[in-house]
């Protein structure tokens, strides 16, 4: 058991060290979350669409009433009159979705360049190889998510007034749970894939639909019912709702249900992924 822990750490350390060692890649990955939140979030100015529609030649009372109605509509849809805040919380989940995709690429290159063989001829426990790869991704993601969050707050994300340290911790755990599931899936795929194109193809196929069929960008209740059905089995929905609950204070009707679905899906992907990856390593 001690062997698994220390081997996992050294394998993860190698990936992290390589990440930091490639200066250009490192700088780009640090900038990415900032760009995402600034450009993506600020371009979708939904409040602006509504406020600019209040005609100025109406009596002030009517103007106020219309603004009130618009605000009510926004409040109904997003739980806040501030779309950027709604969006920023969802973006924390979406970012994990896109970054997890890259966790597999290092496995593919290790395989193709012969490093995987070198790893496999050592007595390293096979589970540690999988855990190390996933662990490195989670570490990288943690760092980038914190940056993303800091950037969102700097750009005007309104946190809930009674935000506590345990809320922050809970939001972090939610993101890590989602990332654990997604990066386990991509890492497993990489053990079986012949080349990196497979990962990009699957990523393109899966990532955008997962983003749009979740509550990350728009609330589920505004979707047509068939789309709602998809959103309700999409783990990104649950992660986005939970993060929003903890950071922004948007209520969710059944907290326990949300966290259970996310945990079951993510831990399921993790356990199946671990078993399949170890199987690949042992049966060649």
């Amino acid at each position: 058991m001690a062997g698994v822990v220390s081997s996992t750490l050294i394998i993860a350390w190698r990936d992290i060290k390589k990440w930091i060692g490639r200066r250009a890649v490192f700088v780009v990955s640090i900038i990415t979350p900032l760009i995402w939140i600034a450009f993506f979030g600020k371009s979708m100015n939904i409040q602006g669409i509504f406020t600019s529609r209040v005609p100025e030649n109406l009596p002030p009372q009517l103007q106020n009433l219309m603004q009130e109605l618009f605000n009510q509509a926004l409040l109904n849809a997003f739980g806040t009159t501030d779309y950027f805040t709604f969006f920023a919380a969802g973006m924390l989940a979406v970012f994990s979705l896109f970054q997890s995709m890259f966790s597999g690429v290092s496995v593919i290159f290790d395989k193709r360049l012969g490093y995987m063989d070198r790893l496999l001829v050592t007595p390293t426990p096979r589970t540690a190889i999988f855990l190390g790869k996933v662990g490195a991704t989670l570490f990288r993601l943690s760092l980038l998510e914190i940056l993303l969050f800091a950037a969102a707050v700097a750009l005007g994300m309104n946190l809930k007034p009674d935000l506590s340290a345990s809320d922050l911790l809970a939001a972090w755990i939610v993101i890590m749970l989602l990332s654990l599931g997604l990066s386990s899936a991509y890492t497993t795929l990489s053990f079986y894939a012949e080349n990196q194109e497979v990962i990009f193809a699957v990523g393109n196929l899966v990532n955008l639909p997962l983003m749009f069929t979740s509550s990350a960008l728009f609330p589920v209740q505004q979707m047509p019912s068939w789309l709602q059905a998809i959103a309700k089995v999409n783990p990104v929905t649950y992660a986005a709702d939970l993060v929003r609950y903890h950071l922004v204070g948007k209520p969710i009707n059944d907290y326990l249900f949300h966290i259970s679905i996310l945990a079951v899906v993510s831990l399921g992907l993790f356990i199946v992924g671990l078993a399949l990856s170890v199987r690949w390593m042992n049966n060649r």
């Binding site: 062997g3 220390s6 081997s7 050294i10 394998i11 350390w13 190698r14 060290k17 390589k18 060692g21 490639r22 193709r112 360049l113 012969g114 490093y115 063989d117 070198r118 790893l119 496999l120 001829v121 050592t122 007595p123 390293t124 049966n283 060649r284």
Partner: protein, 326 residues
């Protein structure tokens, strides 16, 4: 006789019914350098991968210091070191980090891993460049780093798969000296190569492997002595011409063989025989004299030369040659 590595009827059939290794058995004695010599695709790498527990044999087994590669892979992994054909070190890390990670993978504590990293790098003449990024290393340094990475747990048996592939002559000789030193340290070495000269100058014993089978085995001297004396190669324009001349020469009592458009005459003393042959050589483009070597043995056994082709996985090969050219 004690075998450090004993292969018993190893067979590997890849999906699609490709028989890469076909019933291979051999015994590597403790402390010797044993070479598998053969062209690319002969089954050398597949054999090494089975002996190093990376691939499961379709049938058969091998014992490494008494441990079965099939039943006790983890025991085998502790006592063997592998220098793969590819360059596996990470460019963006230092030589030190590459070796240190390898040490940690064998479960050593930090201080023990550091001590072993230093020793391995020192042995491979890399200590003074240890803190430099691998991307700045020359081809020969990279090869030595691969060996240092494989020595860090002090294996009793070292497999080296084409260790000098793609190196210039000078780096190759440097590496040969280091391999000889490893043998002096008491390490048993299994070498695979398609360089005849490498097998001849380093090995205690050689197995010639072709199409997944061992077709000859022995010391380089034993193998070459079977060929008799020196050989005169007469290179003609066509196979047809070669056949014609061969017929005439064998009528005169010469020992002659034809390989495509080349005629090989085996004689005890080439220099003295050529004047005798002179009247018949008017159509010959080139005359070459060789002393018996393993290349000739391979030609004799298979009718083909040890080719110098690209390895099967061209991606790895391209990356490797690109790295070596720096």
């Amino acid at each position: 006789m004690e075998c450090a590595v004993e292969a018993e009827n190893l067979v590997k059939i890849y999906p699609g019914n490709v028989k890469a290794v076909d019933n291979v058995s051999f015994c590597i004695k403790r402390g010797e350098i044993y070479s598998l010599l053969g062209p690319n695709g002969a089954g050398k790498t597949t054999t090494v991968k089975m002996l190093s527990t990376l691939l499961k044999p379709t049938s058969g087994d091998a014992r490494v210091l008494g441990h079965s590669i099939v039943k006790e892979p983890n025991k085998v992994r502790r006592i063997i070191g592998i220098v793969p054909q590819e360059l596996t070190s990470d460019d963006e890390m230092t030589g030190w980090d590459n070796v240190y990670i390898q040490a940690k993978l064998y479960g050593y504590s930090r201080s023990e891993a550091e001590k072993r990293t230093r020793e391995a790098l020192e042995f491979m003449d890399l200590l003074d460049v240890a803190k430099r990024k691998v991307s700045t290393y020359s081809g020969g340094m990279r090869r030595r780093l691969e060996i240092a990475m494989s020595l860090v747990h002090q294996p009793e048996i070292l497999y080296m798969d084409e260790p000098t592939l793609g190196l210039d002559v000078q780096s190759r000789r440097h590496l040969w000296n280091l391999i000889t030193q490893l043998k002096k340290e008491g390490i048993t070495i299994l070498l695979t190569t398609h360089y005849m000269e490498e097998a001849e100058s380093l090995s205690d014993r050689v197995a010639i492997i072709d199409h997944g089978r061992i077709i000859a085995e022995g010391t380089p001297a034993e193998l070459t002595s079977k060929l008799g004396g020196e050989r005169i190669h007469l290179i003609m324009k066509s196979n047809n011409e070669a056949e014609q001349l061969a017929n005439r020469l064998s009528e005169l009592g010469f020992n002659v063989k034809v390989f495509n458009e080349t005629l090989v005459v085996t004689v005890s003393n080439a220099a003295k025989t050529i004047p005798e042959l002179a009247p018949y050589l008017s159509n010959v483009i080139e005359v070459r004299i060789t002393r018996p070597n393993l290349e000739e043995v391979f030609l004799e056994l298979t009718g083909r030369r040890l080719r110098d082709e690209e390895p099967i996985d061209s991606f790895r090969y391209r990356v490797m040659t690109r790295r070596l050219r720096r």
